[in-house]
């Protein structure tokens, strides 16, 4: 394993390595903290999604029921005609918000629900079932917009989380062990050299004493 880093066993190298381990350790701790914070944020968003999702999908089903009713009352062609005539200029205000350095969208929308006049389809040609259907769809759309925002946030967070996790793991399981291995290799080598030197000195001393 020590060969992986191919270090020369010197004191200088040892000091450098110790510094690098310290740095890696600190980076690892910081990333870990970031990851924990991200996980908390992520689960918070997931919880919200779950809530909004149930509401949105239920409302969407209600809207579809109202629409089916409207299709039956008014006829398919007339309903589609009304849909074509309706004013379709709903505006979303979208900006980016930063959650821990990650860009997530922030969607703002004015009132989605309108009154029948604002929808601008011909009122005397249509039935109240159409108004009903439109209203239900507007409500559903409002929830869906909220859901889309949360969904996208969750994706952005998940992407970042994945990246952070990979980095933490790379440090924890690859870089730091390798550095530690290298340090161990160097200290062993240095100790070994020390011992060699010690016996050498002993031997020289013995030879010198013999000569005297």
């Amino acid at each position: 394993m020590a060969a992986v880093l191919a270090v020369s066993p010197t004191r200088m190298e040892l000091m450098k390595l110790r510094k690098r381990v310290g740095l890696a350790q600190r980076g690892h701790d910081l990333l870990r903290e970031k990851m924990d914070a991200l996980v908390m944020e992520f689960f918070e968003v997931l919880r919200k999604i779950q809530e909004v999702r149930v509401r949105a999908f239920e409302q969407l089903l209600t809207a579809h029921r109202a629409l089916t009713n409207c299709l039956a009352v008014m006829g398919t062609l007339e309903t589609m005609q009304a849909a074509r005539e309706a004013k379709r200029e709903l505006q979303l205000e979208i900006s980016t918000r930063y959650v821990m350095g990650i860009a997530v969208p922030a969607v703002e929308v004015g009132e989605v629900e309108r009154n029948a006049l604002a929808r601008q389809y011909s009122l005397h040609m249509t039935s109240s079932a159409l108004d009903e259907a439109s209203r239900e769809f507007e409500r559903a759309l409002k929830f869906l917009i909220e859901l889309a925002e949360l969904n996208e946030s969750a994706f952005a967070l998940a992407r970042e989380l994945e990246k952070t996790k990979r980095r933490v793991n790379a440090l924890e399981y690859i870089l730091i062990p390798r550095l530690k291995e290298a340090i161990k290799f160097i200290t062993m080598r240095l100790d070994e050299m020390e011992r060699e030197n010690f016996t050498r000195l002993k031997r020289i001393k013995a030879i010198l004493e013999e000569r005297r």
Binding site: F137, E138, A158
Partner: protein, 112 residues
């Protein structure tokens, strides 16, 4: 900045969303046509949100996922159930959770 909404789906979904004020709608008939329309929506600077039904997303399959991977932050894309309330078994979000949290199955309590 302000953006508009686009919808891709079956006739009922698009009709309903048009009534609710969505500016662009496309009724899905053939895969190629829908794909080119989706591309057009994705590259438009005026569209901030694309709603499309799970059924259409499923039909577009691989190409759709490819597009989702390469898209910019905007427009947002949200898959919605159609009038039958169809939601596929494999949830994209579940998939992501599994990947990030690492094979953990999460049981969330409702209304906590």
């Amino acid at each position: 900045m302000s953006f508009e909404i686009a919808v891709i789906g079956d006739r009922d979904t698009t009709t309903g969303m048009a009534l609710a004020g969505a500016t662009y709608t496309h009724v899905h008939t053939t895969k190629d046509e829908t794909l080119s329309k989706l591309n057009e929506f994705l590259t438009s600077d005026e569209i901030g949100l694309i709603l499309l039904t799970h059924r259409v997303a499923e039909e577009l399959g691989f190409e759709f996922r490819q597009l989702m991977r390469t898209k910019r932050l905007l427009p947002l894309v949200l898959q919605i159930p159609d009038k039958t309330g169809y939601v596929p078994e494999v949830d994209e979000l579940r998939e992501i959770i599994r990947r990030t949290v690492g094979g953990e199955i999460i049981i969330r309590k409702e209304g906590r």
